[in-house]
């Protein structure tokens, strides 16, 4: 192809045009200076879904996978700050990712390589290398894989359904994912529609009911009763443990962090919305087993965000006065 291109003579008028207006490729623009100062920090930066205020205070993210890694890094004793971001900012296309410490502007290739962003898949390694109190590794049992499937399928499906497809939760969804993305009503509408369709697709893809059904066939009773069974199973697993952490670990592990990411959001974020359908998942978490999951969530929360408990207590005290 290319050889034939070269051999075709360029028409004279075009030739004249390009002679008078030569094509020049300019060098890439330098990053704006604020980009350097924003990423230049004494602490590594974790990019998550969060509101500006929560990010400044280091409060939990409202996205389950971001919260999972935020919790794990805190458990491991890694010092970091969090910055609100979106999927578009991530090199892998998904949050969270972590930008390691950069003390000098990245001018050399070596410096750029050492400060390359770390995607979620490598965060565990990073936490173990850089944390001051590396948590024990996940239990060496294949049973863990089976329980992990509970988080990946029924509990995740219920979370997706509650947040994205429950009409009563649409104000919450707007606040968390839609409003700050754009101020244009058209764009917001499109985002809302896309999020809903994507969530529906994800649920259908993992649930067995996909086989011949399809769009619009979602059976929400089945989604929530599966989630209730899954939460009960996790509660009974926790009841078996002697230490209060899953699989009798001496300290909370990655699995504890993944469970906390969902239970915390179900209990806290959903409680902000009103309407009984909206809070249904929080109720299920509270009822699972004999309250093991709720106390598990509270223990991790107190351990990692102790000051927050105080301020919440104070604000409640203010309210009662």
């Amino acid at each position: 192809m290319s050889t034939t291109w070269n051999s075709i003579p360029v028409p004279r008028p075009l030739q004249q045009l390009f002679d008078s207006v030569p094509l020049v490729t300019y060098d890439a623009n330098a990053l704006p200076t604020r980009a350097q100062s924003n990423t230049l920090c004494q602490l590594p930066t974790l990019y998550v879904f969060a509101s500006e205020r929560d990010a400044r205070l280091g409060l939990p993210s409202y996205n389950p996978s971001c919260l999972k890694w935020q919790t794990f890094l805190k458990l491991a004793g890694v010092e970091f700050r969090i910055v609100p971001s979106t999927n578009h900012a991530s090199p892998t296309g998904a949050l969270p990712f972590l930008l390691p410490v950069r003390t000098s502007p990245t001018t050399t290739a070596a410096a750029a390589a050492s400060s390359a962003p770390i995607p979620a898949s490598r965060l565990q390694r990073y936490a173990l290398d850089h944390g001051s109190r590396p948590p024990p590794p996940n239990a060496k049992t294949l049973r863990l894989d089976a329980y992990q499937a509970l988080l990946d399928v029924p509990i995740r499906n219920a979370w997706l359904h509650t947040l994205y497809l429950e009409p009563e939760n649409s104000p919450l969804l707007e606040k968390l994912y839609v409003t700050w993305a754009s101020s244009s009503g058209w764009v917001q509408g499109t985002i809302r529609h896309q999020l809903g369709r994507a969530a529906e697709g994800e649920i259908l893809k993992t649930s067995s009911s996909l086989s011949a059904a399809g769009a619009g066939e979602l059976d929400e009773d089945a989604v929530y009763s599966a989630a209730r069974d899954a939460l009960n199973a996790l509660a009974s697993l926790l009841a078996e443990s002697e230490t209060g952490w899953f699989f009798s670990a001496t300290a909370p592990t990655l699995f504890d962090a993944s469970v906390f990411a969902y239970t915390h959001l179900m209990l806290q974020v959903l409680s902000e919305a009103d309407g009984e359908d909206a809070a249904r998942l929080g109720v299920l978490v509270g009822q699972a087993g004999s309250g093991e999951l709720r106390s598990h969530q509270q223990r991790i929360y107190q351990m990692l965000w102790p000051s927050q408990i105080w301020s919440e207590g104070e604000s409640q005290a203010d309210k009662t006065q």
């Binding site: 049973r143 089976a146 059904a213 769009a215 009773d221 929530y224 009960n232 249904r280």
Partner: protein, 415 residues
């Protein structure tokens, strides 16, 4: 009271072609006597919930579909029917059931549906045998598409050589249409490099990865203590493992890993369920689908025709999806379910389709009818039928008459 369990029909020597249907049949066969239930062989388009297995209670005319909803509904019946007496260990049972649906199902999808050789030689004929006449044209391809979607995250779409072949043919055609140089097929075959990889089937090429995937799943399942699980979890395990172990496929990687890879406990689990006393397809209380509803053959034929048309509409790009959504919403209102067995606080939403919706569907329907008509007239008026060459040249017969006046003079001699 007799319950009706609507399931996919038998295949591969198993009572059903679908894992959850297999599990539901096994559960009923183990917990109750033959007189208390009937099995109806059908396909999802024939039941109002559009999902199998589906439990129909004719006395109350209620429908429940999906394996775990059916099991939790059966448990609400008074003992001893539909109950298992095994010591319960619910936590593990729930976890391993979730694991099976999340990880074993994609493996089966790879082995029976994505892999072109296995699909063409085993799965498609099996569907053709259990579906009434025109339906094998619409339903199995739809199932295959959804199964590929389910296994998509494993990144092994290379097993689907149909898609690859279509792509390469299209590429060649495009090259031939645009190309100034045309290489005859006999030469181009030699031009292509022949490496070892080209000589392997896609399953052989990906064998190490496939083995790894299968082992990751089977290791977890083999470690579980199935005897301590509730019966429903064991039935589900049987459903999935049987579909791995039993079908006789031309590229049996999954079967080889399971049977020869050191998983005697899992093989034994399948064997126990397939044992002599239980689950021989002919011992199960099957019921002829047409006979059970007391329909004349004409009505049954019309029904099948409607299901076929429905399948065709689903396949129209763009419109099919919306149509399916709208249809599902309509149907949801018509399906009666038993009172909320889940016990979750819930209020029934009014799912009534809005007027705008109906308008949209009517408009789309009109447009579709117009498009079909226009296509038909275009087809009748001049466009050659499929496969016929668009232009045809005929070689001029070189006879004596082509030599001008002298030739014409002599041409009479020939005739």
């Amino acid at each position: 009271m007799v319950l009706e369990l609507h399931v996919w029909g038998p295949a591969f020597g198993l009572p059903s072609i679908d894992a959850e249907c297999l599990a539901a049949i096994a559960y009923l066969a183990r917990t109750t006597s033959r007189s208390e239930y009937r099995l109806v062989q059908t396909s999802p388009s024939a039941v109002p919930t559009h999902h199998l297995p589906a439990l129909h209670k004719p006395s109350a005319n209620t429908w429940i579909s999906g394996f775990s909803p059916i099991i939790s509904h059966l448990r609400s019946f008074p003992s001893p029917s539909f109950h298992d007496d095994s010591p319960p260990h619910h936590g593990d049972s729930t976890a391993y059931s979730a694991f099976l649906t999340a990880h074993a199902a994609p493996l089966i999808a790879l082995s029976l549906y994505v892999s072109s050789a296995n699909y063409a030689a085993t799965t498609r004929p099996a569907y053709s045998a259990i579906l009434p006449f025109p339906l094998p044209w619409t339903e199995p391809p739809a199932i295959r598409a959804s199964m590929s979607l389910r296994a998509a995250h494993l990144g092994l779409s290379s097993l689907d050589t149909d898609a690859a072949e279509d792509a390469s043919i299209a590429e060649e055609k495009a090259a031939a249409a645009a190309g100034w140089v045309h290489i005859p097929a006999s030469l181009s075959a030699q031009l292509k490099s022949k490496s070892v990889k080209d000589a392997l089937t896609p399953e052989q090429a990906a064998r190490i990865k496939l083995d790894g995937l299968a082992r990751e799943v089977l290791d977890v399942l083999a470690e579980a203590d199935w005897d301590r699980m509730v019966l429903s979890a064991r039935c589900l395990a049987y459903g999935y493992l049987a579909l791995m172990a039993v079908p006789d496929v031309p590229r049996p990687w999954l079967r080889e890993v399971l049977l020869q890879g050191g998983y005697p406990s899992l093989c034994e689990l399948v064997g126990r369920f397939r044992g002599p006393e239980a689950l021989a397809a002919e011992k199960l209380p099957w019921e002829e689908s047409a006979a059970h509803s007391g329909q004349s053959s004409l009505v049954a034929g019309l029904n099948v025709g409607a299901r076929f048309a429905q399948g065709l509409i689903y396949d129209i790009p763009g419109i099919g999806e919306e149509w399916r959504r709208w249809w599902a919403r309509r149907r949801k209102r018509s399906v009666r379910r038993p009172e909320d067995t889940a016990g979750l606080t819930q209020k029934r939403r009014d799912m009534s389709a809005s007027g705008a919706d109906t308008l949209l569907v009517a408009g789309v329907g009109m447009a579709a009818v117009l498009a079909v008509n226009a296509g038909f007239f275009l087809y009748r008026s001049g466009v050659p039928s499929f496969g016929a060459p668009v232009h045809s040249w005929q070689m001029v017969r070189a006879g004596l008459s082509s030599f001008g006046a002298a030739g014409a003079m002599f041409s009479g001699l020939n005739a």
